[in-house]
């Protein structure tokens, strides 16, 4: 079952590279949230009620509902529809994400550690690398926020792969930090849109001496 979710997650990454509509990015992030829930749920050996509620909150409620809903509001506020001129054409982006997945797959198969769930690494590495690529390739700061969330999802899978379960309180604090970070970034993004009349990173150049 895990492999099905991993394959779906890999497809969302390819779709990210293929898409040019901002709305699609938000939708894909929401799908990734559901896929992450599936991954965690299918890899649980025994379910404790508090852990289950936390996982449900982190993946479905936060990653699939709250964050996409908030991003949609930011998108509408700034009137964003399509991304303009990614630095690298879509065709090459799709090739790059596929190469990243292959590299990640090869790397994961070379990990020799009985304690680690290496199958998660196959897409986790790819997600982190692709997140960085997504930020570099797009000039729009909304896309940068999306790239950051792709990296965060990759890190979530690395934590699954490592199998390191932190205490619930710490997990909650980590989640709260990330959510607050996204909310504050979203608020700043709205203000950037209002102040600079653009969400292009090229416009943010007033800091240099």
């Amino acid at each position: 079952m895990n492999f099905l979710f991993i394959i779906i997650y890999a497809i969302t990454l390819i779709y990210f590279a293929y898409s040019e509509r901002v709305k699609k990015f938000v939708w894909l992030l929401s799908v990734q949230g559901f896929v992450l829930f599936g991954m965690v749920f299918s890899s649980l050996k025994e379910i404790e009620i508090f852990d289950f509620i936390f996982i449900l909150t982190e993946t479905i409620l936060v990653k699939s509902i709250i964050v996409p809903w908030f991003l949609n509001r930011v998108r509408k506020h700034n009137g964003l529809k399509r991304i303009h001129e990614p630095s690298i054409p879509v065709f090459y982006s799709v090739i790059i994400v596929i190469l990243t997945l292959i590299l990640s797959f090869v790397l994961s198969n070379n990990i020799l550690n009985s304690q680690m769930h290496t199958q998660f690494f196959t897409v986790a590495f790819a997600s982190v690398i692709f997140g960085f690529y997504f930020i570099i390739n797009h000039k729009n700061i909304f896309s940068h926020l999306v790239g950051y969330l792709i990296i965060e999802n990759g890190i979530f899978m690395i934590s699954l792969a490592v199998g390191n379960t932190m205490p619930l309180l710490v997990n909650l604090a980590v989640l709260l930090d990330i959510v607050l970070g996204i909310l504050v970034l979203g608020v700043f993004l709205n203000r950037v849109g209002n102040t600079f009349q653009s969400d292009e990173i090229n416009q943010l150049t007033e800091l240099k001496d």
Partner: protein, 472 residues
Amino acid sequence: MFIFFIIISIVISFSIFILKNKIATNILPIVFLILLIMLSGYAYMNINKTENYFFTYDSLGVLFTFVLTILSIATYYFSRSYLKNEDYSSRKVSVYYSALIMLITAIMTTYFSNNFAVLWVSIEATSLFVSMLIFFERTKVALEAAWKYLFVSSIGIAVAFIGILLMGIAVSNYGLTDLSFGTLSNVVKSMNTYWLKISVLFIVAGFSVKLSVFPLYAVAVDAKTIAPSPINAIMSTALVNVGFVAFFRTFAIISHTPILAWTQNVLFIIGLFSIFIASIQLTRVKRLKRAFAFSTMEHMGIISLGLAVGGIGYYAVILHIVLHSFVKAGLFYQINKIHSIFKSKWINDFSAYFKINPLAGLSLILGFISVLAIPPSGLFVSEFLIFKALFLSHQYIIAVVALILLTVIMVILSKIFLTILFGNVQENIKVDKINPLGNIIQLSFFGLVIYLGINPPPFFMDLINSSISILN
């Protein structure tokens, strides 16, 4: 006690934010400062005690808490005059104090956390609150700096989190789930060195955004150029110390593993690159705050070298970072005055400061001597010890290259300082009534730096020696 401190701080911060009136913004920050002083005393009395499972009052934490408490009191004093001069609305003032209190609380949590995950959470929290303060003046550049700082910090801290998770592999191998520094120190020795190296690289690269060193230094420099001066005093000192705590804890874990030598080389590279970049960038700066931001980067580069070389370098590093905190805070408080007199932020607009305001000029001269590590500055003692350690460990090339770069920095900063102090008097400068008391704090800080360097009190030395005992 510590969990109560966090809860009460949140309540105070929230109350200021909700009430938005003068009584709240005048009284509640003082209540918070009293609480901070009490916690510092309590932590010192209960050194090495662990509370609420995740917090330990260790020597390094206690030392930095003393520094933070002193700086917080001074920052509160200068914040009052800064907010009064600019005549901000009570709503904005409440946001300022509310965010400042939460920032100080998050910094304190970082100092005392004994667990990597809690450290990470606290550091991420500092990014959130400081970005609100960077944006405080609501200008275009403030917005740009706040966005870039928060975004790149979040990315950097996310990268560090990958490193922490990878280090967690060692813990998982033992069937444990605890990411405390003590547990990690015990178990990482058996970890695959390849994974450990990757983990260290991620952690160091990620937290470099907080320490203001290579590679993720740029956004911190930009933010320090734009943030209000009293906030800058915290950002260039206590917040930089947060980055140091993250580096130090990681280094302490690694110090008993086979990759210690490799990690030292990484720190040498970080240190040299940081000093090199600072020296290049300083030739191009036009804003005074930016010059000091790069000066912070230079000092953090020196600290990386000291941490890498070991031996007496460890002692010098802690001494250097404590003294740097007082020097840089004093200078940023002074910049606040310079900006208000010249009504500008550009170096070219500043001149004849010594003639316009002699006491403040004297204070700036002392700051100049201190930050450039010229005797009798305490920073001279710490830098001397770091370079002594470099020569004793036969790192001649690193030491010579660093000394050449430091000479370049010294020349550039001297030129800036001398122009500000003794340049030609500008005719269009109108000086308001100057309060001589406004310089007492800066003068005390610079005096303290000389005193602590020449004649460090026994309790101060004990705290430093106890902090570094984990490395030896």
